[in-house]
Structure formats: structure tokens, C-alpha cells
């Protein structure tokens, strides 16, 4: 974020990014994955506004982990989260948050997963190991999620079944491939999450 641009008198959305309907309510989906996996790209591909960044500072809780003796006196770490927005209809505004994979960052935004519809775990096949902990944590928190494999052109291609085995992922959890740069592809990943949520809701009412 460039503070020079944030003159308080003029801070706010561009006219085209204003949210018109009064009486609308928000709902959120979280895109979670490791650094550089394409979370922000995915948010940008489907968002109706250019991705924005909200930041939070981590102090006490992270000090033990992040303390860097070289940076004397610096005991805070800034964690950024990019997000975007899709107006679903006059009453409903969907927000998409690209969230770091490390659980220790999740508490910073007042329970990012609380009240979320669900999550998309974005996977880079070159660094599949970062997803193990993410998947375990989401299961522990009972956050419904689908796994989307970002198809980087330079990354090795594996059959979905092989990746499912590598991730020790239950058969019931949908797994899709997507191109995080492509709007239609990201929309389809979001739709696969929504359809999965419908399936879960239907199972619950049986």
C-alpha cells in the first residue's frame, strides 16, 4: 500500500467501484494457499473491482516465531490480505479473500473463516506440501472446501487422482483444475464450491 496515495480527504472508492444498493448484505468465500500460488490472481480474475489490500499487524502472538535478531526493536509483522468483490444481486455482495496458508495469520482478521460460505484451497503442484496443514486445519474447523489446482504452464501436470492421493484427500471433497488468470476458469472453481455446499446441505436435510 502506498500511503502517499491515501489522502484522507479523497480516500474511498472510484465512482465505478461504488456499491450502489442500500440494504444489501455481505457474504464471503476464502481462497487459501501458500505464497505465490495465485490467490491474488484468482481474486482479480473474478472481482468487479481491482483487488484491494487489507493489512493487519502481528505483535505478541507471532513474536516468538518471527523474531528476527537482525532487525533490532522491530517486533511487529505486517500481514496483507488481498480481496475482491462480486455483486450477486441487489441484496447480496460476495467478497473473496486471498488468505495466507499459515494458520497463525488466520486469527488476525477476527475469524476470517467464521461465517464464510466455504473455502477454495489453491494448490501449486510444485509445492504441494504447503497444503497439508491448510487442509487439516480447515477440516478441524469444519470449513467446507474444494481443492483447485492452479495449472501453471511450467508446473508438472499430474492426474487429479494422483494429486488426491498425494493430498490424502477424501473422495467426497471436489478437486478441480483451474487457471487463476482466467475469469471463466475461476468462476467454475467457485461454482464447484457452491455446488458442493448444496450437496452438503442436501445431505444434512435427509
Amino acid at each position: 500500500m502506498d500511503y502517499a496515495d491515501s489522502d484522507l480527504a479523497t480516500a474511498g472508492p472510484r465512482a465505478t467501484d461504488m456499491l450502489l444498493p442500500h440494504g444489501a448484505r455481505g457474504v464471503k468465500i476464502v481462497i487459501v494457499g501458500g505464497f505465490g500460488v495465485g490467490k491474488t490472481t484468482m481474486v482479480g480474475a473474478v472481482s468487479e473491482i481491482p483487488p484491494l489490500t487489507t493489512e493487519e499487524t502481528m505483535t505478541q502472538a507471532g513474536v516468538g516465531i518471527d523474531h528476527n535478531p537482525g532487525a533490532s526493536g522491530k517486533n511487529t509483522t505486517t500481514v496483507a490480505m488481498d480481496f475482491g468483490r462480486i455483486s450477486i444481486n441487489q441484496e447480496l455482495i460476495l467478497y473473496l479473500f486471498g488468505t495466507p496458508g499459515q494458520e497463525r495469520f488466520w486469527f488476525l482478521w477476527n475469524g476470517i473463516f467464521e461465517g464464510a460460505l466455504g473455502a477454495i484451497v489453491l494448490v501449486d503442484t510444485r509445492r504441494i506440501e504447503v497444503c497439508f496443514e491448510v487442509i487439516t486445519r480447515l477440516e478441524d474447523r469444519r470449513v467446507p472446501f474444494v481443492v483447485a489446482v492452479n495449472t501453471f504452464p511450467e508446473a508438472p501436470q499430474y492426474p487429479v487422482d494422483e494429486l488426491r492421493t498425494a493430498l490424502a484427500l477424501s473422495e467426497s471433497v471436489p478437486m478441480v483444475t483451474c487457471d487463476a488468470r482466467d475469469r471463466a476458469s475461476c468462476r467454475d472453481a467457485l461454482l464447484s464450491l457452491m455446488v458442493y455446499l448444496c450437496t452438503l446441505a442436501a445431505q444434512e436435510t435427509v
Binding site: G12, P21, V27, K28, E56, R85, W109, C198, A201
Partner: protein, 118 residues
């Protein structure tokens, strides 16, 4: 207030965050990232500039996340500012759609319908 190129929460900044929040260290209300904020009164001259800026930008509703992004302030600082504005009746905080363990079918279908139009 601060030098042009440093964010107000950087280490060593001349304006500590407790000045921006008026010394209130904790937010009484719980704001979600997607709680929508809508202005209910005009800014008054005695307000802190950050609070006046919120009233100006939330003429049309914005989420707390957007307010945080546009003000370049951490989410937790924005929630403290918003708490005071809600208490004083300057803004309305519109809670997110409640999502149960298994969300409402109508909600899911509305989102699916909206996504298909993308």
C-alpha cells in the same frame, strides 16, 4: 501526520495507533470483514480526520475490509474507529448474511445464479 512514505503502523512512526483510535484499545463490537458500513450523518468538524473520511466514503455502503483498504489502516484499527461511529449513530453496521454450518439453500442458489452471470 506521518511522512509520505511510511505507513502509520510502521515501527518508529510519529503517530502511534492508540492516537488514531482515541486511546481505546479494544473494540466493543464485533465487526466482520464483510460487515457493511453505511453513513447515517454528515461528518462534523470535531471528528478525527479518519472518522470524517469514513463518513464520506460510506455514503454508499462499503465493507469494513474496503474501508481498511481505502484508509490504509489495519483492520483492527478501523474496527475501533467504527465502534465509536456506530455508538454515536453516525454509521450503521449491517451484519453479514448469517451462514450456519449448512447454509440456506436459497442463499446458495442466489450465489450460484450470480456467479453464472460472470
Amino acid at each position: 501526520m506521518t511522512s509520505e512514505h511510511s505507513s502509520p503502523w510502521d515501527e518508529g512512526t510519529p503517530v502511534p495507533l492508540y492516537v488514531i483510535t482515541g486511546g481505546t484499545g479494544s473494540s466493543a463490537k464485533t465487526f466482520d470483514l464483510v460487515t457493511l458500513i453505511a453513513t447515517r450523518s454528515a461528518p462534523d468538524p470535531s471528528m478525527q480526520p479518519e472518522q470524517a473520511a469514513i463518513l464520506t466514503m460510506c455514503h454508499y455502503p462499503l465493507s469494513v475490509a474496503e474501508v481498511s483498504a481505502y484508509l490504509s489502516l489495519p483492520f483492527s484499527v478501523v474496527t475501533v474507529l467504527l465502534s465509536q461511529l456506530v455508538d454515536d449513530g453516525h454509521v450503521e453496521a449491517i451484519a453479514p448474511v448469517p451462514v450456519a454450518a449448512f447454509p440456506d439453500r436459497d442463499l446458495l442458489e442466489a450465489v450460484i445464479h450470480g456467479l453464472r452471470r460472470l
